[in-house]
């Protein structure tokens, strides 16, 4: 069994965990973003609440959410371990460095971007997930079915322009993280191929822009709806 720990704690093994959890989280983001597009409908309170009810009660989704939490935890812990080790490998910095000539900003700042995303996740979970589970969310009744009125909570939160701005900044961080991260994960997994690597790169850029863009529409729409603009 020793080989398993040796393997997973090696530099390649740690990046394997990073890439698998990272790609899994990408998949989660795509689904999460697409599902929440219901918010764009100004009369979508019922649709959104029923969607939220489904997502919090349907057993397979509940299992998937546990995996997502674990994935985030492993990704973060592994990310911290890797970043600290990498810093230790270069204790003295260069007086003059032209790192920008040979690598992208996003690729050099995955840790910093991760920290921003981390704080976002904490605040995001506190505002909605924690409220939904443990908070005092009012109930609404649809055809005799009592469900929690998360829509009202969401609208109340995004009424504040500052809160919307915080979301937009965090989404920009996710965009940069995935701009480098998506294709990097395939390299970490050892997958480079003349035919498929260019496709993976393009897919990565589509995800890095499309997912945060789709998400960004939601707080903006909620802001406009909550403030009676649309």
């Amino acid at each position: 069994m020793n080989w398993i720990t040796n393997f997973l704690f090696s530099s390649v093994g740690k990046k394997l965990i990073m890439s698998l959890t990272g790609l899994f989280l990408c998949l989660f983001l795509v689904v999460h973003m697409a599902g929440n597009l219901v918010l764009l409908d100004p009369n979508g309170a019922r649709a959104f609440n029923e969607y939220a009810y489904f997502m919090t009660t349907f057993p397979p989704i509940k299992v998937a959410s546990i995996f997502t939490m674990l994935g985030i935890a492993f990704h973060i812990i592994d990310g911290i371990v890797l970043s600290l080790q990498n810093q230790k490998s270069r204790p003295t910095k260069y007086a003059a460095s032209k790192a920008g000539k040979s690598s992208s900003w996003a690729s050099r700042n995955m840790g910093l971007l991760g920290v921003i995303i981390f704080f976002f996740i904490i605040i995001h979970l506190k505002s909605f997930w924690f409220e939904m589970k443990f908070g005092s969310v009012p109930y609404v009744e649809y055809d005799g079915n009592k469900v929690k009125d998360l829509h009202t909570i969401v609208m109340a939160a995004f009424k504040s322009p500052l809160y919307v701005l915080f979301y937009l900044i965090s989404l920009a961080a996710i965009s940069f993280h995935l701009w480098h991260g998506f294709q990097s994960a395939f390299r970490s997994l050892g997958f480079v191929h003349n035919k498929y690597t260019p496709i993976i790169k393009i897919l990565g850029y589509i995800i890095a822009i499309g997912v945060p863009f789709g998400f960004a529409l939601q707080p903006i729409a909620a802001y406009l709806i909550a403030n009676g603009i649309i």
Partner: protein, 249 residues
Amino acid sequence: MKLTLNIWRQASTNASGSMQAYKLDGVDEDMSFLEMMDMLNEQIIRDGGEPVEFDHDCREGICGMCSLYINGQPHGPSNLTTTCQLHMRSFQDGDTIDIEPWRASAFPVVKDLVVDRSAFDRIIQAGGYISVNTGNAVDANAVPVEKKTADEAFDAAACIGCGACVAACKNASAALFVSAKVSHLALLPQGDAERKSRVLKMLDQMDEEGFGSCTNTGACEAECPKGISITNIARMNREYMSASIFGEK
């Protein structure tokens, strides 16, 4: 040409160092960078100072001994060029040039601009060889190798082990060096026998030496004087995973 040189001076591994400025006049643009350094040292010696230590050997871009982080880039501003092949025509009269040693905990500074790169030797000793008795040179094409594979192996074998990849990487990772060595042997039939044990031993040694891990920034490939591709790193990851998971040990 008249230059200002900011050079890292450090008396020994444990001494603390600092950047020091030197003025050098009369530099010819046809001089190589190392000839310019020789000229500076002659001036320092005439003034009764301690010459700047720097590594070099072949001065023709094949041995991998020269180093130097010049103006924020390993081996200076020219692509696919070692410091010994860099010429002063790449600079302007009146320029200030920053010259630093490779920075990595696995490459401790010995003195001034000289770092100890024996970590690379230990990685090679761990498995970067084939243990067959080679005997006499065999006829060309006695062992058939597909042209594309031979080219890939040769491109990887072009690595001169200078350490620019480590110097360029924000994590001081040796992944490009190790992957070049792993690839060049893994691709050829002669290296196939020890393919699995080699990658395990070399990578474990790489981790033990304290090099960082690979974030796939691509800085190593961009700065490599021999143009070694980071595709080799993906191959090494693949080799290491398959050796760990499917190997008998």
